[in-house]
Symmetry: C2
Subunit: 720 residues, 2 copies
């Protein structure tokens, strides 16, 4: 692993290019990672957890679990194997690696594996570009053999590499016409910050190779260049031919917005500002979870495998929960991850129409997940995990502290009941709620996506996405609404969030792949819609005129499970194991509890919606197929939507009594407001996977309350 690879590869998505003319960009105040005097008490800790950002040695790490990601050594070996494999060996220029990650063993191999068993053969799956062709290569690491190799013939290209981005920038910045345009706008080239935007796909005439659109900002006076667009200047770059295809410069009358109040970095307050007293989640005995072999998490009644993936970000596998009666570990989910993230902006303008990003497949959610900030992104006592990723040259690098794991106590109540204190009899039972959170935050250019997987002791898994970071804004000649002529107001595609700055309306859709395996035999699962139906015409039978009744519909084929949520015809959606029933005869299952239900409302034949047709429904169910991992297809970049979840589902395969995958899309409509300027307070939505007759009874019935004697005595450091 070389430092340069890391730095180089980190230039991703809206890659920013700075030419530094001054010392303006001093390092932002770090200070977050201080020394904790809590370690003085380490002798009382009963766990091996440390309370500071975890440091892992990756040089000599070896895989311990069939799903463990490739190690540095394995990645290096794959690169070595391919460097002597034709046609890559003799290719000039060298091949570009767009993906190099574990080719997961077949599910039955993983399910059969027990700790202590030898690992199934380790394989790598590689996507590489050579002379404009996308190659899919499978490498058997143990035997040093390429076992599969084929060339992609469908539409679309692999995820952008860091080299693609730097190429686009170099080509742009070397263009005299572009430079002149920038200068004409009054922006010094030394203040230029440019982002590399995926171009989408808008018809065959547009297609002539891999292209990126470059747009730029002024970083003069503020690191928050995102609020200072050079509006209406778009450079289309052919990445492979390394040339400018087109320069669109339609925004000459639009000033670059000022930098006033755009800087969000912390500066120690000059005057005495009201600030809150210190508050923290404290665990004097340390957290209650353990992480075995770096990837297997054991906490309370849960056990699961967690890893970082360059494209998906955080991946949870083999999630199992202890049966509250037998104590056996029971399977809930084989694999869950964010499969795609679709962000269409709502502006038909020539410089905006194409902004319909698919962040996972075009940029990668793991590779954009930068190190989390201790104490601020994650509480004290968090455990941090790294990602081992691969740069365009095939070299591994460490994405450090990109996942944190922590126990959460938010003052919430797991269950409670009070009974009136009558005749000396009184019930005052309440149990505090403590959960385990696995978190990652992807900074995909301007936007920050916080992904939380929260595990509860009652068996529920909450999957939450928080949005922060910066708006993608549009420059306008007007300073504010009062200046906009009435006949122009209708043309506005967003809200004034600052002078000359429009926050453009947009949506976010995060589609999760949830390979549910309910109980041992996860190959025998079914999807059931439990519909609440109104019964009427009760005259003579009841003083009531209506009531709601449940009707169960087992989905036979995929089309039965293309679910558009209905507020006024509500249903629950269960994944059950028909071969396992509770002692009361109820099928055991988990339900998906929708949340963040905003739907994509674009025309189905609008190109971005065709490519993101996986957002046509909030829920889909497909039969398990190891090649169907990415809702927008494996090759998303400039893809035409010919390999999406929607296409697979149209095949209408049987999904009853088989191994099924649930897909859920969390949606947000975002109409910006001034509070979103210059950085957005986090907005979150979540959905749940919740046991439904999975346990024989409340699994946390026997949970203990908190007693004062168990809690710590705390002092401020400076009062010692």
């Amino acid at each position: 692993m070389e430092k340069t690879s890391f730095l180089c590869f980190s230039i991703i998505f809206f890659t920013v290019f700075f030419i530094f003319s001054s010392s303006f960009y001093s390092l932002s105040k770090p200070g977050f990672i201080g020394s904790s005097r809590c370690t003085e008490f380490s002798s009382i800790s009963k766990t091996t957890q440390v309370h500071k950002p975890t440091t892992h040695d990756h040089k000599n790490s070896v895989p311990h679990h069939p799903l463990d990601p490739l190690t540095i050594q394995e990645i290096n070996k794959v690169r070595a194997i391919l460097s002597s494999y034709e046609p890559f060996a003799s290719s000039v220029p060298a091949i570009q690696f767009h993906s190099l990650s574990l080719d997961e063993p077949d599910k039955n191999q993983v399910l059969a594996w027990k700790k202590g068993d030898p690992l199934p053969p380790r394989k790598a799956f590689v996507i590489a570009l050579l002379n404009g062709k996308s190659h899919r290569v499978t490498v058997d690491i143990d035997s040093s053999q390429v076992t599969e190799h084929n060339i992609h013939t469908g539409s679309g290209y692999p995820t952008l590499s860091s080299d693609d981005l730097s190429t686009a920038l170099q080509v742009t910045l070397s263009d005299a016409e572009f430079n002149q345009s920038v200068t004409n706008r009054g922006v010094a080239l030394s203040d230029l910050a440019c982002v590399t935007l995926s171009t989408g796909w808008y018809g065959s005439d547009e297609e002539n190779g891999r292209v990126i659109k470059v747009q730029c900002y002024s970083s003069e006076g503020s690191p928050n260049f995102y609020m200072r667009p050079i509006e209406g200047l778009t450079v289309t770059v052919d990445i492979d031919r390394k040339k400018v295809v087109k320069i669109s410069n339609t925004g000459r009358d639009i000033p670059v917005p000022k930098s006033t109040n755009t800087d969000y970095r912390y500066k120690a307050p000059s005057e005495k500002k009201k600030s809150l007293n210190p508050i923290s989640i404290e665990q004097p005995k340390g957290p209650s979870f353990i992480v075995e072999d770096r990837h297997t998490v054991k906490w309370a009644n849960w056990e699961f495998h967690i890893k970082a993936d360059q494209r998906a970000g955080l991946v949870i596998s083999r999630a199992m929960v202890e049966d509250s009666e037998s104590g056996e570990l029971r399977s809930v989910m084989y694999k869950g991850f964010s499969s795609e993230l679709f962000v269409p902006y709502m502006d038909p303008d020539g410089n905006w129409y194409f902004k319909t990003y698919m962040d996972a497949g075009e940029y990668g959610l793991g590779v954009t997940a930068l190190p989390l900030v201790p104490l601020n992104d994650c509480p004290r006592y968090s455990y941090y995990m790294d990602g081992i990723f691969v740069a365009a040259d095939g070299k591994p690098f460490v994405q450090s502290n990109m996942i944190c794991l922590f126990e959460r106590y938010a003052g919430d109540i797991n269950w409670r009941h009070s009974e009136i204190p009558l005749f000396g009899f009184q019930i005052r039972e309440a149990r505090p709620k403590v959960t385990l959170v696995a978190r990652m935050a992807a900074s995909v250019g301007n936007y920050d996506y916080i992904f939380d997987w929260e595990f509860q002791t009652d068996g529920l898994i909450r999957i939450k996405v928080g949005l922060s970071g910066m708006l993608m804004v549009k420059g306008t000649p007007y300073e504010n609404m009062n200046q906009v002529p009435h006949h122009h107001q209708d043309e506005m595609t967003g809200t004034f969030v600052s002078e000359n700055v429009i926050g453009v309306v947009h949506d976010h859709f995060i589609t999760f792949h949830l390979d549910m395996d309910i109980d041992e035999d996860g190959s025998n699962n079914s999807f059931v819609k439990v519909n609440l139906v109104k019964e009427e015409n009760l005259t003579g039978k009841s003083p009531r005129k209506s009531y709601l009744k449940t009707k169960r519909h087992v989905a036979k084929t995929e089309k039965d499970a293309q679910i558009k949520l209905k507020l006024y015809d509500p249903s629950e959606f269960h994944v059950i194991n028909p071969s396992r029933r509770s002692r009361l005869g109820n099928p055991v299952g988990y339900k998906v509890v929708p949340g963040g239900t905003a739907a994509s409302l674009l025309d189905h034949d609008d190109p971005p919606q065709q490519r993101s047709a996986f957002t046509n429904n909030q829920i889909w169910v497909t039969p398990y197929n190891r090649t169907e991992q990415w809702a927008g297809g494996l090759f998303v970049y400039q893809g035409r939507g010919d390999d999406t979840l929607a296409v697979w589902s149209e095949r209408n395969r049987p999904i009853e009594n088989t191994d099924i995958v649930l897909w859920y899309t969390l949606g947000f409509h975002h109409i910006p407001c001034q509070e979103d300027f210059p950085i957005m307070p986090t907005v979150s939505s979540s959905f749940d996977l919740k046991p439904v007759n999975f346990f024989e009874s409340n699994p946390i019935l026997g949970a203990a309350p908190t007693f004062e004697k168990d809690l710590p005595v705390c002092k401020l450091i400076d009062s010692w």
Copy 2:
């Protein structure tokens, strides 16, 4: 205040009557309230907060704010005034007090009042029953005069009093036929636990005075009698005539379910159970909020008045947030509270059809909110508040520790952004999210409703309701699904949650009264629907075929603001102040962000839905009217729905540029599952009130990050 009043009045809702034959009901293990050694450090505390349940002296307390609830002395004075006021003075039997609380001064008086000013005249509003008539009486406390007195002539009766409940029980338990029925079911009278159920209203033939339905359970072997119904035995009692109207005994073939695994009380574990390490929210300097004069809360940028109300529970008034630029306190909401709680069960059976509770108006959410359990209902460092309520005899009593206030840190992120570490330039800015929560938990019989009002520093208010406690279950002759003949399965109205026990499907709707006053001149507010409309037919104008655009519709009259949420025709819903615009020309406002969107789907002409017609829409807006506080009407008990929010709204009054009230209904459909037995893990939903162009920019831009040096050093008590 007398202890007897307290105990007596506490027999509310599903009032339980126990005849004790054994010492079975020992006090449940208390232990929660221990001594905190944190007080050893009280010298470092900079606040006046204590970390233990707060003890208030109420005997000599005086009101400090126009909205402060009546004090004990004031209540006693009102009772004294009425005891010499005809017709109450000479009435035999004595009048029954169903409500006695502050008659809030007119809004303009409250708004004009400043700290230090004399209080506007203190008045009490009394609802009393005398000879079957509901009297509404207003008493001027200072002048000792009854200033208004009228008799209610519409439908419905006041909220049940404790005497009503004990009357219903005494009448039932004195009935020989009833007792024989119980004995015949094999239940010892000494094990009987009975609940008093509101009867709803189902047609004029049913009406012949105030009635309660009594149903009973066996408490043998478990305090969780709720899981052991004596199914199909319902006694209808005329409360005023003190006699049994009818006994329905149709469940003779249904056994009383066993008590196995129903007890949820904590017992120290006999064997070594895996338990989590201690975890707590620690604040070595104490919390950052202060409570002035017991009711005015100041925290971060927020200030509001909070009080306990016997009917509504927790009431937030005069919520104001500091402008992030000018520092001025700006009005957000004049008053917010849970106005009604509608819980229809979905079973047309003769013993079930009437279970369509309106918990606020029929029982009261404040009076059923028992003391919170420190450390388990609320975290350490919580501040506890009492309610001063009134018993049926007009005497005051203290509902202690019924509200807690605490700061929450859940490991969440207020805002963040990371930027790639390029050329020595790096952004890693994140701010932890700390909020203030005001909580109450109403145990309305079997169900527990946790009400949280959460204030965020970014100006957002989250209103959350959590459901826990026990299901209302139905006995069945079948032990499990396998025994149910196929032709009977369709008749099931719920899920088997234990042997012979069906958890019946039901809904919960909590309707909030939100008197928004956006900015000083809250009398000039408007309601705006910001609709996201799809624009199409862009051929020739853009490569895109569609995009979403906002269209604003200002509601002119109430019918314009009868909102049924639409998933596929989405809108934002703003309350704005048209006379105040941001510097960018956007109207300042707050939006209601829906959540918990389940809608009531009963027929509009079904009697319970007529009475709860306020759930016909999720959002309503009415012009402010001080008499329109209770969505189901002032007199809900056996009411016919002639005074609901739906009736008011049909008048279609103008609501533009005036003082308006927003109503939001949080809804839950609940299909029970085995995990809900014998006590339910909390299920929560929430909605938000969120600033939208209210602030000129992100109000927490300048928030400081957490530094390690600010955090405490903690040890377990037993390690000192």
